[in-house]
Amino acid sequence: MQSFTTLKGLAVPLMRANVDTDAIIPKQFLKSIKRSGFGVNLFDEWRYKDAGFPGQDPATRQPNPDFVLNEPRYQGAQVLIAGENFGCGSSREHAVWALDDYGFRSVIAPGFADIFHNNSFKSGLLPIVLDKPIVEKLATECAEREGYQLDIDLEAQTVTTPDGEVHPFEVDSFRKYCLLNGFDDIELTLQQRFRIEAYEERRRTSAPWLFDSIDSRSP
């Protein structure tokens, strides 16, 4: 996993509430069996006027000039300032992969849907929850000032504005540790193999029907 320590990046505001994963990456792109290449179709139905399908040449598409990501001043943005309950809907990690592939490294919002929040950490995309009035203020400042960059420090757990205002944020210590170091949590879990085996052994005695499963009556 890619690590996350500090970032100073151009921000872009997208303050709609309940931005769902179908909006972030529409279903037709989930047919891919790869983890990469989703960035060109991020927010596809908002970003383009024509219907999108897998394998198109992006050069042939008709961008929607009214959509914020298409404004020249936001090209190269790395921080998305978003509305409440960002990432609601399906469990598709493709939503995170699309944001990441596009170039975003962090999303700041008043709140995230649970699965999206979980998924973000797995790809090194840092979700930051700040109070709604603060997020709204950042979004307003960002819209007003071209080149608005935010400074994010994961170790210190702070977001700093160009004016030097510092906003602390919470992050789970274990996730922070994994993200700072870019650790693969499967490897960390497998170091506890003996605990998993011991658990299984206990459960096989107390609830054997949980193990008498699919194989034994397979077709």
């Binding site: 709609r16 509430a17 309940n18 769902d20 179908d22 909006a23 529409p26 279903k27 037709q28 989930l30 047919k31 891919s32 069996i33 790869k34 983890r35 139905e45 219907a51 999108g52 897998p54 309950n85 609601c88 809907g89 399906s90 469990s91 598709r92 990690e93 995170v96 709140g111 849907a113 649970d114 699965i115 979980n118 998924n119 797995k122 790809s123 789970d172 210590s173 274990f174 949590d185 499967i186 879990t189 497998l190 506890q192 605990r195 998993i196 658990y199 299984e200 609830a207 054997p208 029907w209 949980l210 193990f211 008498d212 499963s213 699919i214 194989d215 034994s216 009556r217 397979s218 077709p219």
Partner: protein, 467 residues
Amino acid sequence: MTGKTLYDKVWDAHVVHQQEEGTVLLYIDRHLVHEVTSPQAFEGLQLAGRKPWRTSSMLAVADHNVPTTDRAGGITDPVSRLQVETLDANCEAYGVVEFKMNDLRQGIVHVIGPEQGATLPGMTVVCGDSHTSTHGAFGALAFGIGTSEVEHVMATQTLLQKKSRNMLVSVDGQVGPGVTAKDIVLAIIGRIGTAGGNGCTIEFAGEAIRALSMEGRMSVCNMSIEAGARAGMIAVDDTTIEYLKGRPFAPTGDMWDAAESAWRELQSDADAQFDEVVRLDAADIEPQVSWGTSPEMVTSVNGHVPDPSADDYASKREGYQRALDYMDLAPDTPMIDIMLDRVFIGSCTNSRIEDLRAAAAVIRERKVADTIKQAMVVPGSGLVKRQAEEEGLDKLFMAAGFEWREPGCSMCLAMNADRLQPGERCASTSNRNFEGRQGQGGRTHLVSPAMAAAAAIAGHFVDVRHF
């Protein structure tokens, strides 16, 4: 010491190890797999040279991409076909049991798990799919995960999790005739909002929930995620036990007896404390119809499209206006005046036998309205389809002008060929009315199966109680 909730009990029984700051290594009993969210996980496993920890915990099926028309010729879309073939190849390579596309038992993953008895009370059940919450109807702790977590479960049989808060949603009293599980859950989401359950596991309780069949309970738990909760649960009772008896993967003999007595404990203690409690009076719930682009944007069939300029909606004005623009609806339009183009009866919310019976019962020798371009019924599994055919439901539907299809996700998310054209309006028994969900530019109204069937016949929404 206060008592435990149902969620506390199932959670506690699965803690392998408690790490610092509340992160828990949680054991996973059942891992359901489908073609869309698994390929990258299998690939990750392979690249790291790992093997699945316990393939006997896994059951795989292709459901999202499969065609619902004749399958003899396979899948025409090469991209969809590759995804399904990739699942077949991965299951073959790792020895995972899979119900292939032409297996009678194939169907939507959240329909076949319970149908096969692969979902059992007290289990932890995961799947790379947010509607895994469905399985909570059995007193299981079931939730959707992303692809990285799918890989984590494959490799370790565990997940790193933090415990959610406990929320109780109690639906007290009895619903009136013609009001279904779908109406109950839409009314709940209308009340608490689409983020109302964020960070919570919801236990659904109360007389109206107890009175539901397992099919109805699954419809309710299915949409927990639409209220922001990853998991929804319902306590085990006779209804649960009766449903499971004799299912292919359910225990038998002495093992059944031992399991049954353990399952009977799966209820919240009388003195259990919930972090949040919401109560609804069942008698107040009318048949529901969604009007917007989020499941919380819902009202009674006898209601109206809201007016975003009303003072009550000040904080939601922008979102409501955007939704009305997308849905092409004017404020204050009576719901019953909304004309439809298509009707979809299916999805993991409402494609079980009881749903199809409820829809068929509405028809009474009437026909789908001429103004409806297409009305389709997509059973949740091959076994549901066969059962419905044995009961003659297919003939009732087809005589009325509905199409009778092969099982799969179909127009719930339009990954296969079944989809809305831009601007088309659909009455759908599925769970999401997001922009573009059923096809780019398509407009979705969520309803119960009976309401969908009635709407197909009338050409617009009607109160199924007087139809």
